[in-house]
Symmetry: C2
DNA sequence: GAGGATTATGAATTTGTCTCACATTGGCGA
DNA sequence: TCGCCAATGTGAGACAAATTCATAATCCTC
């Protein structure tokens, strides 16, 4: 038996119009077409959906049951169709984000908060856990935006610059290295470094400093949260390298010292990677604008 | 744009099968047919529902939204189809009842309770408020069973006898009429009668006694519930005529007297009216059997 | 019981969906 | 990077289904 949406619409129309002829007019069809359709439907259902003893035909018990289904389902169908229209006109859409930059959560949340207010119909989400293979996932449309500092030249992907930052050394003011003007790879040999729990090729400390110089630190421990890393650094359990803007609160504290990675400080750039065809969408453009504004605000402290 | 059930099934199949070719096999169609179908659907939706950048094609954001709809709707459709199968096989159905006999509620409830246990899939209901025009409503399949004592010879309607009863006079033992052997129309001239709040032509007291004899009682008040009528009678605020079996508890009380309407007591018969085609349905037959059994039990007291 | 309104029916037509055959594309290993 | 395999797309024709037109049958009302 094959119930179709068309059938549900027919059932509902005949009920509300109070008769087949009126319903036919309402649906822009001939009365004959509806008659055939009802006949076919009853044939499939194997029972009468309408009572014909009285003249404008009325729903039978079974027909009523089907009407109830129609009343539940048709609004949902219509809602989806409207959603698609909104999608086409660019009001609606999806923005699932993955971060390759662990420190960026703090910065992202206020951006998302502003964004949600402006684009309530866009389905916003942060997808954790697949940061390792973010670019293929972006291509496969599993996610829609990747925050990354590595602008590999994927085709079909646009890398929108967000802000520049210096990976910056931070240590307790008790640490001997506090005496130095800038910090170099060799300086880490006697230090315990504290990083986010991700692979070394996604940590500025390693990619920019230690790995090129082939230096291995004395120890290495990890922490999930920026606040925890800073706490450990503050109690001199280790040193860390973080984006400069993360240290905005710490810089004014006498417990910490921050130093450039020298002698020539590296400047890195953070990007939002999107699919090319998405970068023109209004809500996507708006998100990028918001992101840059918030970045500037954070840089200033 | 015309979403169809078929489309929802397709979306779901492609998602679970993880590809168009596999889905086609699952749905017993050629891969080509599905390709055409998806193309048509995307054409109507005005956007891509699948991502083709990677090879086994995957749902896009919009496609995912549609999948969610499918997961909500398809089970409901399937449930209805199973319901129809149950309906055809006679396990399921509708039993909406109207009572023309106000006193019968007390008797009906235990019957319905037993019935519901035996036929859980039958949609049982008591429809009050349209008792006035019950027979046309029965014909129009708005209701399925009418409890009535008036077997008009409607064509297409079966009147199944349930039980016989005597409309019986009941009064306070303080009432002067308590001295009489039986009660006649003239006896009501000095009495206040208490009845259910329905028109006179549906009250045994009037149809069988007062109206034929053209006697008007001294007063007439009404009460909804049998228990209230008996209470009023007990405190000698009036007299009533009720089916004998209603008085089973009252008869043994010294506060009340019950008397036949004489000299030749009327015997009336209660019927369950059903549509002819329904009377063969197994659940309907079972209901009637239960009803008769319960009636006998009540008669015995 | 005549007339208008409502539904049903049959044949022809239109529309839509499927299959078949083959082209195209992307993924992957040599 | 070439070439193969697997997956998807395309076009034409076959087939099925839905619709329309014309008209018949039915019910309802006055």
């Amino acid at each position: 038996m094959y119930i179709e949406i068309r059938h549900l619409r027919t059932i509902r129309a005949i009920h509300t119009a109070g008769g087949l002829a009126r319903a036919a007019e309402m649906m822009n069809m001939t009365q004959s077409a509806l008659s055939h359709q009802v006949a076919g439907l009853e044939d499939q259902a194997g029972m009468e959906l309408f009572v014909r003893r009285s003249k404008p035909m009325r729903l039978s018990a079974a027909g009523f049951r089907m009407l109830k289904l129609a009343d539940r389902i048709l609004p949902e169908i219509d809602a989806l169709e409207e959603e698609f229209i909104a999608l086409r006109s660019g009001k609606s859409g999806r923005l699932h984000i993955t971060l390759e930059c662990h420190a960026c959560y703090d910065w992202l949340f206020p951006v998302l908060e502003m964004f949600r207010r402006a684009w309530p119909e866009v389905d916003v989400d942060i997808r954790a856990g697949l940061a390792f293979d973010a670019m293929p996932a972006l291509n496969r449309e599993e996610i829609d935006l990747v925050i990354t500092s590595d602008p590999g030249s994927q085709n079909g992907v646009t890398f929108n610059p967000l802000f520049d930052y210096h990976p910056t050394f931070v240590a307790s003011s008790q640490n001997p290295l506090a005496a130095k003007e800038f910090i170099q790879a060799e300086d880490f040999r006697d230090q315990v470094v504290i990083t986010y729990p991700v692979s070394r090729d996604r940590l500025d400390l390693f990619t920019e400093v230690l790995t090129p110089a082939k230096v291995e630190p004395r120890g290495h421990r990890t922490a999930e949260l920026t606040a925890v890393i800073l706490m450990l650094v503050g109690s001199n359990r280790g040193v860390a390298v973080l984006p400069d803007w993360v240290m905005r609160e710490v810089r004014s504290s006498s417990d910490y010292v921050t130093r450039p990675l020298g002698p020539d400080p590296v400047l890195k750039r953070m990007y939002a990677a999107t699919r090319e065809e998405d970068s023109t969408r209004p809500y996507m453009a708006h998100f990028l604008r918001l992101a840059r504004i918030e970045a500037v605000r954070l840089q200033r402290g």
